[in-house]
């Protein structure tokens, strides 16, 4: 073993390379950049500015955070629906003035004054919403005009009445409470913002109107075609934004109690920067409340720190502008390249060394010696079939298998000429078996374990999830690629899941990883529970309960082994390897009439691929640089059928030397003296007469007795 190989082996053992891709595939990874930005900003300014973390400082910041967070939340909702609201700063100033005017000058009760301010904000939003939503004016220009108009109104009011609004006419306990009191050190503004944030999160992620907003922002036309009230939804977002901006203004009024011409100036830039920095997409449809809050926190830390450092306010805006530019650039680049990065790093091949491959040379004394006995198999349904992974027969000689179109097809026995769609299951059916009642159990890719009831043909879901493993990053509780199943005498269904990291259409990528991504799972119909029995199997595939029902055999495809798991007896719960060095890739296993087992080999090992398994770096670079069609892959055009006994000895071997008549064999099922061959990329089912086989053997009879 060379040094590079030893390194590769230890690296695979010690470094979980696949985790990086799994983390990147998480939805919350979008929040990573703002979080890093926030931590960096706090670290930088925390080290520059003395007393940065002082409690009083933090309380002040929390109060201010409440205000800006409200404004950012409102803007976020508009942006999520695909719009933009530049008038938030002016609305903020207007609400500030109205609140102070009504309380200090007119002597209104605080509650009524606040309600009035909020109403004013909502009204501004309604005008915006009407113009943008119903009249379909440009959001940018419309809200820019609104920014100027409201600003002009506020400026006029401030110019004329600023002195009158500052001095309170009567003191209001409610207003004082909002202004000066804390609840255990937490200011009211912050609490209100927090409550609204939680409500906003629930609204956006759990409620219908929130979904509508995201749908409109994601694709306006699709939302319209789906029957959503696009115009109303857009208009509503501006009303929400106006109201929230007004709420921010109210808290600003409570904090400073002053109305000046500079109130809320530049706030729209700060809020926009916060939203984009947090990861709210300018294009709409992408974002969350968490992102908005993160962005608001970043902006607050930066702008307050700059003020504390004694920089002029012009500098502040300049810095915000630069940050906004960076944020927009990141937003565009990240959105564009995230999936590129993910596709580069997700596949993470592992080191794997297979034992030497046994000879398959024709005429040698190897049990796998090449022959041409499958050359003359009869073909059933040539050209009518697509993707018959695992054909099985019932006691009435009807033939069942799945199709790529999501059906289970039945060919009527005994001549297998006519056929019908037995049941539509909606996903690609893979392994099948009959249970004691004669119901058809079926593993369906991407869906789970299903049952088709014999009498009614009703499709019943048995299970689609198992227990989640503790250390897995990706959610492995959902079944992704259930593959084959078998039923134990006590009714428990054992089934294999080929891989938890890839979907059905990417199964070949799993071959390049050669990681233990698969598992054996047990579904217990007695209590409806599902749990993982054997994790970490390299592409768990065929599964077959032994003739005596005390153990089960399963195939681990990429490691070219057959394993045995004991269901009862002294070795109960343990696994042992029965065949350690197959010359090919094992697929489905089924019972044979003479007490042995049929094993279909879907492909053969090639020296070049076996070598590549020892070079994970080679495979990783291949995935990154070479087009998928050109990847090196296990040989899957030639397969064969072998028969093995419980001791793991090969007792028979059937080949189709040229692979013309029946290329690719994924399953073989014995029935009344014949072997039925399936192949997932094939357009036929093969039928081979087994010399000297029991003409009365059926799988259903073997499992559940001749009576059934």
């Amino acid at each position: 073993m060379t040094a590079s190989e030893i390194y590769a082996r230890w690296r695979t053992r010690l470094v979980p390379d696949h985790v990086l891709g799994e983390i990147l595939s998480k939805n919350w990874i979008d929040n990573a950049i703002p979080v890093i930005f926030l931590v960096a900003a706090i670290a930088v300014f925390g080290s520059i500015i003395p007393n940065f973390f002082l409690f009083g400082n933090l309380t002040d910041e929390a109060r201010e955070f409440g205000e800006i967070a409200l404004v950012v939340l409102g803007l976020t909702i508009v942006m999520l629906a695909g719009g933009i609201d530049l008038s938030v700063g002016s609305t903020f100033a207007l609400a500030n003035f109205i609140t102070l005017a009504l309380i200090n000058w007119q002597g209104w009760p605080a509650g009524a004054a606040i309600a009035c301010a909020l109403l004013a904000g909502a009204l501004v939003g309604l005008v915006n919403g009407f113009l943008v939503g119903y009249l379909r004016l440009r959001a940018f220009l419309t809200t820019l005009v609104m920014l100027i108009v409201i600003r002009a109104v506020v400026d006029t009011l401030v110019l004329n009445y600023s002195t009158k609004v500052v001095v309170p006419a009567v003191r209001s306990p409610v207003w004082d409470y909002i202004s000066f009191e804390d609840i255990r050190g937490v200011p009211v503004a912050f609490i209100v913002a927090a409550v609204l944030a939680v409500a906003g999160h629930v609204f956006l992620t759990r409620l219908r109107p929130g979904w509508h907003i995201l749908a409109v922002g994601g694709s306006r036309r699709s939302a319209y075609n789906a029957g959503l009230a696009v115009r109303r939804t857009v208009a509503t977002t501006y009303v929400i934004s106006g109201t929230l901006a007004a709420a921010g203004g109210v808290f600003y009024a409570s904090r400073l109690g002053a109305a000046t011409a500079s109130t809320g100036v530049g706030l729209e830039v700060a809020a926009l920067t916060a939203a984009v920095l947090g990861g709210i997409s300018l294009g709409g449809g992408r974002g969350s409340v968490t992102k908005a809050l993160l962005g608001a926190a970043i902006i607050l830390v930066i702008s307050n720190s700059l003020i504390q450092m004694g920089l002029r306010s012009g500098t502040n805006t300049l810095v915000l502008g630069v940050v906004l530019m960076i944020a927009v650039a990141i937003d565009v680049k990240w959105l564009k390249n995230r999936f590129k990065v993910l596709s580069r790093v997700y596949v993470s091949p592992a080191y794997f060394r297979l034992p030497p491959s046994p000879s398959t040379e024709e005429g040698s004394d190897s049990p796998y010696a090449l022959n041409d006995r499958l050359h003359d198999v009869e073909l059933i349904g040539l050209g009518e079939i697509d993707a018959a992974e695992d054909p099985i027969l019932d006691t009435d000689d009807n033939l069942y298998f799945g199709s790529r179109q999501g059906d289970i097809i039945r060919y009527f026995g005994p001549d297998h000429k006519d056929w019908e769609v037995y049941a539509h299951v909606g996903g690609m059916p893979l392994g099948m078996a009959f249970d004691r009642q004669g119901d058809l159990l079926c593993c369906i890719a991407g869906m789970g374990l299903y049952k088709i009831v014999k009498e009614t043909r009703e499709v019943v879901k048995l299970t689609d999830e198992t227990n989640r493993s503790w250390l897995s990053i990706i959610d492995d509780s959902r079944l992704r690629l259930p593959d084959d199943l078998d039923v134990a005498p006590d009714g428990r269904v054992f089934f294999s899941e080929a891989t938890v990291r890839f979907d059905m259409h990417e199964w070949m990528v799993d071959a390049l990883e050669a990681r233990g991504n698969g598992r054996i799972i047990c579904y217990d119909p007695r209590d409806g529970s599902t749990r993982t029995v054997i994790p970490g199997v390299r592409f768990a595939n065929g599964i077959c309960v032994a003739h005596d029902g005390k153990s089960l055999f399963y195939a681990s495809t990429w490691s070219c082994t057959i394993e045995r798991y004991w269901l009862e007896g002294p070795k109960k719960g343990t696994t042992e390897t029965v065949i350690a060095d197959l010359p090919g890739y094992p697929d489905n296993i089924n019972r044979a009439s003479d007490g042995t087992y049929w094993l279909a080999m879907v492909g053969m090992r090639t020296p070049a691929f076996d070598l590549a398994l020892r070079k994970p770096g080679f495979r990783r670079r291949m995935v990154q640089q070479v087009a998928q069609d050109e990847w090196l892959f296990p040989q899957m055009n030639v397969g064969n059928v072998v028969k093995f006994n419980e001791a793991g000895e090969i007792v028979d071997c059937l080949w189709d030397r040229r692979g013309v008549n029946h290329p690719m064999i994924t399953s073989c099922n014995e029935h009344r003296g014949y072997l039925y061959l399936g192949g997932i990329f094939n357009n036929r089912v093969g039928r081979y007469r087994i010399p000297g086989a029991d003409p009365n053997f059926t799988n259903q009879g073997s499992y559940w007795g001749a009576g059934k």
């Binding site: 053969m604 090639t606 020296p607 691929f609 070598l611 070079k615 296990p634 692979g659």
Partner: protein, 368 residues
């Protein structure tokens, strides 16, 4: 400085000369099934080098040289000569001379003025890898030596070792005074006379044709051929050349050529038949490497599947640009076209991997 920085960047990103992409078969190279569907003139074991002097037609097959008598669609062969080693190159000259390069080394002449002459070395260099021969008159022979490290049968080794030790010589018979026309070529294995008196050489591992002229450095005439160019033959009327491309380039092979560790392990541990390397014949064994796109779907291997073997003859115009092409695609069998000649109004080509000599009709109205 900038160039070397760019090379480093390319190496890291897999761009530039480190890219694994291969040129597309487009324009004049658009695939067809002409070779696959062409009538078979004669079947033979690994027919290799077709050669003609205008009157006679011969080809090498293993250790023997066969003369081909063509009459319409049918043809008959007659043994012309047999050697103690497989023939690696063949040329017919004026005056009845036949020169044969031998796999074990050396060049043997039969017939003509230099009958029974055997050369073992030229210019102090052993004739261990004669890949192509060309007569320039009765007493002058141009010899292409593919490599200094490998014999003609070890051409895959030479490719995967990334050698560039081939050379082209002009030898005066019978004395054997030789001048080296070019050295450091990456497996030259096709020779043709250029109208201006120079030579056109197919440089396989660099996927290009170069022009040799006295006193000048080798100049590229056609680059980025989507395969490994082999032997050249003149087209009637001094209108360019026929180029036999004996194997296709493939992304996977290009990738393996850049993966030193894997390549060396493969050459050390794996039987050469099962290497990831170009091949002359369509897959013979399931132990050969397979690629994702080579998976049979519904029992059919797609003609556009990735492949390590292919049949391709390109007709080049006088400016060495491809004008017409004949193909046998991934789903076919007539792969490894190592040579072709234009004879009697038809184009004959040897499919070394498919074991046939085929006869192709020339394109109507010639080629511009």
């Amino acid at each position: 400085m900038i160039a070397s920085a760019k090379r480093l960047l390319d190496r890291w990103r897999g761009g530039g000369e480190h890219a694994v992409t291969v040129p597309p078969m487009d324009g004049a190279l658009r695939p067809n099934e002409a070779i696959e569907e062409a009538p078979v003139l004669v079947e033979a074991a690994a027919p290799d080098n077709l050669a003609t002097d205008g009157a006679r037609l011969m080809f090498s097959s293993g250790a023997s040289v066969l003369e081909l008598f063509s009459s319409g669609a049918r043809a008959a062969t007659k043994p012309f000569a047999a050697f103690d080693s497989p023939v690696s190159a063949l040329a017919l000259g004026p005056g009845g001379s036949v020169a044969a390069g031998l796999e074990r080394g050396g060049i043997a002449l039969r017939g003509g003025r230099h009958d029974c002459l055997v050369m073992e070395q030229i210019g102090g260099r052993a004739l261990s890898c004669v890949t192509a021969l060309l007569f320039e008159g009765e007493d002058t022979l141009v010899v292409a030596l593919g490599s200094q490290r490998n014999g003609p049968d070890r051409w895959r080794h030479d490719l995967l070792q990334r050698n560039a030790s081939g050379s082209v010589w002009r030898v005066t018979l019978p004395g054997g005074q030789a001048t080296c026309l070019a050295d450091g070529l990456a497996w030259p294995c096709g020779l043709a006379a250029a109208p201006d008196g120079g030579l056109v050489v197919a440089e396989s591992w660099r996927n290009r044709l170069v022009g040799l002229a006295p006193g000048r450095r080798p100049a590229p005439l056609l680059t980025d051929i989507p395969g490994y160019p082999g032997r050249l033959a003149p087209r009637a009327g001094d209108a360019g050349h026929w180029l036999a491309v004996f194997a296709p380039r493939s992304q996977l092979v290009e990738f393996v050529l850049r993966e030193r560790d894997y390549r060396e392990s493969m050459m050390r541990e794996v039987d050469p038949c099962f290497w990831i390397a170009p091949a002359l014949s369509a897959a013979q064994s399931f132990l050969e490497p397979m690629q994702v796109g080579g998976l049979k779907q519904l029992g059919v291997l797609k003609p556009w599947a990735p492949t390590r073997s292919y049949g391709l003859v390109i007709g080049l115009d006088a400016g060495h640009e491809p004008a017409v092409s004949f193909h046998s695609r991934a789903s076919g069998q007539r792969h490894g076209v190592t040579s072709c000649v234009e004879f009697g109004g038809r184009l004959l080509a040897t499919s070394k991997g498919g074991g046939v000599v085929v006869s192709l009709p020339l394109p109507q109205g010639g080629v511009r």
